[in-house]
């Protein structure tokens, strides 16, 4: 029922909403739950497993029952802000994902501050004021729409609160984030906070936790009936939302806290059932004055009713009621504190786990620190705010307290559970777990709360045990006859659930991962390239012409390269400028072959291995000057190779004078390949004499192109054909590419053709023909392993496993049927091997193509002792057929190397 006056709702702004399809009206300022209560809707969907009736139980993030589906699969009615047109469906513990796209946009903010205050109740507001006034950069985050915390429940200090909110807003270096939950507290004061669509990464020099406390339920027979609610929730609904859950209320408590509820609802409360034999006289007298009966030393044994509570059994008495407001005590909300590695201890007097030792630069204050009187909360908040500011280099006065009344809070008398019929005293409402379930766990031998949690699933639902966790601990203690509770389960992020989309933020779709493009990318797109992802790069894979499939396109591109001229965009290759007097010496130590004596103007192919001797990367290195080299790397490994160089130079050989600069994007690279390459060069770079005599294989020249563009032209070949690599300033890349294409001669080709051409020559692709277990010797590249010098990894070739004769070695394969393409990844076996698993395997196909030049298929493979098997037949058993092939040398085309000169 909606009370005619009071509350912080705006009665002039009615909002229509539906619950399970039925229309209701609430007010601006309502939560869905308060609006439901105002409309007399207390009951929500039945319980998850047992199907028992359940009602709204709490008023905040600790709600176990009132799960609803909006667009999101699961929300708490108690934390959903009411908006016009809201349509909620109550849920029985399980949400539903729908295909409808999420229109919301999510973003992230990085924020740095001197003082982060989490929680905007009296303690937190006090801390933020104190810190903010010093000029310290202060952030105050509270999960609720309004600051105030329990002040809004208790209707206290609202004027002070209003002033404080205004002042905080006006402080230039203070930022108030309402509707923002600090959900994860990580190392070095990194606190992740979430609002509906924004994720904050807050790095704070100091943190003040003022997260309040959660009220505990009571465990007795049928304690799950609708109408049983936390006492503070009842009070909050009435005072903050003017929503009255019932007319005839009984309060059951173990502590002082619930008296406030009774007093605020005086006239509608008949009885207070207090577990303490001597509740504070002041409270008892006040209750009596208000016409409320106090039953001291009593507990509720059972709730009466079927669909909703109709009364309670206390001792032998039955007392009628339509709401039972329960308070089993308070748990300081130490979730974030514990996440930050703070230690808690059990406080016998307060009957709760309380903060003990902070690990990070942090304070924890107010109810979160088990301080339950308002004066104390404010005082701790102000002190913490000032101290935090001082610790971060600011100074100021501790603000004067707006409230100094002395409240004595008497110790609670906890009741862990009241025994009764099996299976009806609920410990975890959301998981439908009862004392009997806990008893089964302990009976089976479990002692640890962690085991009981997992056996019963207590505390693992949406509410993560905010209400049930401690109840379980108490029940276990009582069942095991322990003197006091033995410890909590681990607090883990997030404090309250966070949507996947929020965590993903902007890293979706187009922005999921950077797409890297070369300077010539647009040309490739315009000319119909199909792209391949290589690392983050987009590389043209092949350029189909109308009517062509991939095979036809690649054969055409290959043919062009072998018989005419073709060009490829090789700009993605990693490039590292290496300078310094010791550059040559450095390269000698990291590459398997020697570089120190390479002549200026010359190029050399090099192989890099990890210290375990396995091939890691390869590329061509040019000597630009006595003390300067330019190394190229594979596209995918560019960053890794630079890191590798830096690591060795800085950490192992700091005495070497050598420096590395990534110039991958300084240069755009165009490979001009084929017997007619010189014709293209003659047009594009007329000043360069590229005749055989003037331009040796594996040398380079710095020159100007026809249009004056400076270029570095290298005669290197990854295809076996006559080839030139034109390197130009990246900004000129597109223009020079256009100039090359404007000659009208070359065919553009992509990575697939590049792979075929190199495979025909037996050149490996690191990562395709190697897999981190392959040595240079395995590849038949002994020639590149210098016997005369040491280099990283060399020692590894003496290990017993590296010298085994049956290591897998790179060989060629020619399928018996020249049209049959061996699938890459096919495993190879010896002929006549029985196909009963495990079938002994000889190796596998690493690369396999149709060759235009060979007019047949061919492949490369790694085969055990493969070099000894040349000429033999092997079989590749596939799902639907078996392919026979002959092992060959891994060079199929122009073994004499005659073609590289054109």
């Amino acid at each position: 029922m909606r009370l005619p006056e009071g509350g912080r709702i705006d009665r002039t702004k009615p909002l229509r909403f539906t619950v399970d399809g039925i229309e209701h009206t609430g007010c601006a300022g309502d939560t869905l739950a308060s609006a439901m209560i105002a409309n007399g809707l207390l009951t929500v969907a039945p319980s998850t497993y047992l199907g028992r009736p359940r009602g709204i139980f709490a008023a905040g993030v600790d709600e176990p029952n009132a799960l609803v589906q909006l667009d999101d699969p699961m929300q708490l009615a108690t934390t959903v802000e009411l908006v016009d047109g809201l349509a909620a469906t109550t849920l029985r513990g399980k949400g539903r994902l729908t295909d409808e796209p999420d229109a919301a946009r999510y973003d992230k903010r990085n924020a740095h501050c001197d003082v982060l205050v989490v929680g905007g109740g009296p303690a937190g507001v006090a801390a933020a004021l104190a810190a903010g006034r010093t000029g310290a950069r202060t952030i105050l985050a509270d999960e609720q729409r309004e600051l105030g915390g329990s002040l809004l429940t208790e209707n206290r200090l609202l004027d002070w609160l209003a002033d404080a909110v205004e002042e905080l807003d006006a402080l230039p270096e203070t930022r108030v984030l309402t509707g923002t939950t600090a959900f994860g507290y990580y190392d070095q004061n990194f606190v992740a906070c979430a609002s509906k669509t924004r994720l904050w990464h807050v790095r704070a020099k100091h943190v003040v936790l003022a997260t309040g406390a959660h009220e505990r339920p009571l465990v007795f027979v049928d304690n799950d009936l609708p109408g049983i609610m936390l006492a503070s929730a009842v009070r909050q609904y009435v005072n903050r939302y003017a929503a009255l859950p019932g007319e005839n209320i009984v309060v059951a408590t173990t502590n002082d806290g619930a008296y406030g509820t009774a007093f605020d609802l005086a006239g509608r409360v008949s009885t207070i059932v207090d577990s303490r034999s001597e509740p504070p006289a002041e409270l008892v007298n006040r209750a009596r004055e208000l016409g409320i009966e106090v039953l001291a030393g009593s507990t509720v044994r059972q709730a009466l009713g079927t669909q909703r509570i109709g009364g309670v059994r206390v001792g032998d008495r039955e007392i009628a009621c339509d709401v039972l407001a329960v308070s089993g005590g308070w748990n300081p909300a130490v979730h974030l504190f514990s996440q930050s590695q703070g230690k808690t201890r059990y406080d016998e007097r307060k009957a709760a786990f309380v903060p003990d030792k902070s690990v990070q630069a942090q304070h924890i204050v107010g109810a979160a620190n088990a301080v339950y009187d308002l004066t104390g909360c404010l005082d701790e908040g102000f002190s913490a705010g000032i101290e935090a500011a001082k610790m971060t280099g600011f100074d100021g006065e501790k603000p004067a307290a707006p409230y100094t009344a002395r409240e004595v809070i008497t110790d609670p008398h906890p009741v862990w559970f009241v025994d009764g019929p099996e299976g009806r005293q609920f410990v975890d409402l959301q998981r439908d777990v009862t004392v009997a379930d806990v008893r089964r766990a302990t009976g089976a031998g479990m002692r640890s709360v962690e085991h009981v949690k997992r056996y019963t699933t207590i505390g693992t639902a949406h509410d993560q045990g905010k209400t049930s966790g401690f109840a379980a601990i108490g029940v276990i203690a009582q069942l095991l006859g322990a003197e006091s509770p033995q410890g909590t389960t681990t607090y883990r992020p997030p404090y309250t659930p966070v949507s996947f989309a929020l965590l993903a933020g902007r890293d979706r779709g187009e922005l999921h991962d950077p797409v890297r493009k070369t300077p010539m990318h647009d040309w490739h797109v315009r000319n119909g390239a199909v792209f391949e992802n290589v690392g983050q790069w987009k590389r043209p894979w092949y350029y189909p012409q109308p009517g062509e499939d991939m095979k036809a396109a690649v054969l055409r591109e290959c043919r062009a390269a072998r018989t005419d001229v073709a060009v490829m965009d090789a700009s993605t290759l990693g490039k590292i400028d290496i300078q310094g007097p010791d550059a040559g010496e450095f390269l000698n130590r990291v590459y398997t072959n020697a570089f120190a004596k390479l002549k200026v103007g010359h190029c050399r192919y090099g192989l890099l291995c990890k210290a375990d001797g396995m091939v890691f990367d390869d590329g061509v290195v040019m000597r630009v000057a006595e003390d300067r080299f330019l190394a190229t790397t594979t596209t995918g490994n560019a960053a890794a190779v630079l890191d590798w160089f830096e690591e060795w130079a800085q950490t192992e050989w700091p005495d070497l004078e050598v420096w590395f600069t990534s110039v991958t994007e300084q240069w755009a690279t165009i490979a001009v390949v084929g017997p007619q390459a010189r014709v293209v060069l003659a047009i594009v770079a007329p000043d360069v004499d590229c005749s055989q005599d003037a331009f040796d294989f594996m040398t380079f020249k710095d020159a100007f192109l026809a249009d004056g563009t400076p270029a570095r032209i290298a005669r290197v070949s990854f295809s076996g054909e006559l080839a030139f690599e034109i390197n130009v300033d990246g900004r000129a890349g597109a223009r020079v590419w256009d100039a090359v294409m404007a000659t009208g001669l070359p065919t553009p080709y992509g990575t697939e053709t590049m792979h075929v051409l190199r495979a025909e020559k037996g050149y490996v692709i690191v990562g395709q023909d190697t897999d981190g277990t392959v040595t240079p010797q395995d590849l038949g590249m002994e020639w590149i392993v210098s016997p005369r010098k040491d280099f990283v990894g060399k020692r590894s070739y003496q290990r017993p496993d590296a010298t085994r004769p049956d290591r897998k070695q790179l060989v060629g394969l020619l399928p018996t049927d020249p049209d049959e393409l061996l699938p890459e990844g096919a495993q190879l076996i010896a002929p006549d091997t029985p196909l009963t698993p495990p079938v002994p395997m000889l190796g596998h196909v690493t690369s396999s193509y149709h060759s235009a030049a060979l007019e047949r298929t061919f492949a490369l493979a790694l085969v055990k002792g493969g070099r000894q098997l040349i000429g033999r037949t092997v079989l590749a058993p596939l799902r639907d057929r078996t392919i026979a092939a002959t092992i060959t040398e891994p060079i199929f085309y122009d073994p004499e190397g005659a073609r590289r000169d054109g």
Binding site: Y455, T773, Q827
Partner: protein, 401 residues
């Protein structure tokens, strides 16, 4: 078969000595104890657990079980495990909720495709069920995977192991524990091994917070803490301990029928029996024993998850956590003797040892009972780091599982 039996274990006091002491009451320690008793008749055995039984990685893993490893040695031991899984509920008389719903490993690049096909072919020849699915078949098998070609890293295909799946991790641990306990094994919780009693180069017992316990043989099964323990005995192990994080969503109506893993975009996910999505990603890069990691790893994992499964956008993360995984240089485990006599080690399972639990226990029990490796664990000896005969499963372990 009931979900939970009424009796699990006894909580005995430790005795003065045992024939075999197993250090670490995770899945592997418990399975080892069970098979020592069941297969070898060795029942004078204690499992010493510093915390609560199976409270380490066993409580934290995403429960993916598969055997589609690349190399013969791995395929053999993981396939042995899978066969044991298939009979485990019956053997242990406890429903471990083993669900063979199939595991997809997605390929997003041409190299992924090559590797996937290489693995499928090797698996078949090793007697491991394996199939290659094209994107259309992927969509049929798991309709919520985004197989559109227009995404940043489109799905180019997938390997499928139909017999792979998930099981309920806690039930597995408790099932082994209960049977071991029944067969006389002492499961001792809250018992931390703090040192070793040695006679020359021979271990004769362990020091614990509950006092010394003598032992004929000592088997370490301490997963993330293996290095710490081994170093107490003067042994350096080739493992590094890293955080590995996982998370669950709220309970959802069934949406996800199988297990999907993607190395390239770094995420793997299944929907557990109760209905929560269970997912993980790669390890945090630094060494740690803190059982927690950094939040950006989770953020990247969520971004990856939404690329693959747009339907998850509105689901919520309910809880995140971390375990401590012991990673070896070749992403394969170590099971066998150490340079110290009577001290054995079972470690290095890294991000993928849950699936191996029964076979790890089976072979380790054999090793502890006989002093010699079982043929299945022979290749997984420490010596391989000297000889260089590594079993490099990085392809299979690039993403945790």
């Amino acid at each position: 078969m009931s979900e939970h039996p009424d009796r699990l274990w006894r909580n005995p006091e430790p005795r003065a000595g045992y024939d075999v002491v197993i250090v670490g009451g995770g899945g592997h320690g418990l399975a080892t104890a069970y098979y020592l008793a069941a297969n070898h008749g060795i029942r004078n055995v204690a499992v010493l657990e510093k915390g609560w039984l199976a409270g380490g990685n066993m409580a934290r893993n995403t429960t993916i079980i598969r055997s589609n490893y690349l190399w013969d040695e791995s395929a053999a031991i993981y396939e042995h495990a899978l066969k044991l899984w298939e009979g485990l509920s019956a053997e242990l008389d406890y429903d471990i909720l083993f669900s063979q719903r199939g595991v997809l490993n997605l390929a997003h690049t041409l190299q992924d495709v090559r590797e996937g096909s290489r693995r499928v072919n090797a698996n078949r020849l090793n007697g491991v069920d394996a199939e290659w699915l094209d994107p259309d078949e992927v969509r049929k098998f798991c309709p919520i995977v985004n197989t559109s070609p227009d995404v940043r890293y489109p799905v180019l295909g997938a390997t499928l192991q139909p017999r792979a799946g998930i099981a309920k991790h806690d039930h597995v641990a408790w099932a082994f524990a209960r049977r071991a306990d029944e067969l006389g094994v002492d499961l001792i919780q809250g018992c931390e091994v703090t040192g070793f009693r040695k006679h020359g180069n021979k271990v004769i017992g362990v020091e614990t917070n509950l006092g010394p316990i003598m032992a004929g043989r000592v088997g370490l099964a301490a997963a993330g803490h293996s290095s710490v323990l081994a170093s107490l005995a003067g042994v350096r192990l080739p493992v590094q301990s890293h955080p590995l994080q996982a998370l669950v969503s709220e309970l959802l109506e069934p949406v996800h029928p199988c297990v999907v893993m993607s190395n390239h975009v770094h995420v793997y996910v299944s929907q557990a029996h109760k209905g929560e999505l269970v997912m993980g990603a790669g390890i945090d890069p630094y060494n740690s024993y803190a059982q927690r990691g950094s939040v950006h790893v989770i953020e990247q994992q969520m971004a990856a998850a939404l690329e693959l499964f747009p339907i998850f956008a509105r689901a919520h993360v309910l809880r995140t956590w971390g375990g401590i995984v012991d990673v070896t240089p070749d992403a394969s485990p170590v099971i066998g003797p150490t340079p110290v006599d009577n001290l054995f080690v079972n470690c290095g399972w890294g991000t993928g040892g849950f699936k191996a639990t029964p076979a790890s226990g089976w072979t380790y029990a054999h090793t502890l009972a006989t002093g010699k490796a079982h043929p299945l664990n022979e290749p997984f000896a420490l010596e391989r780091f000297t000889s260089g005969a590594l079993i490099d499963e990085h392809g299979a372990a690039a993403v945790a599982h």
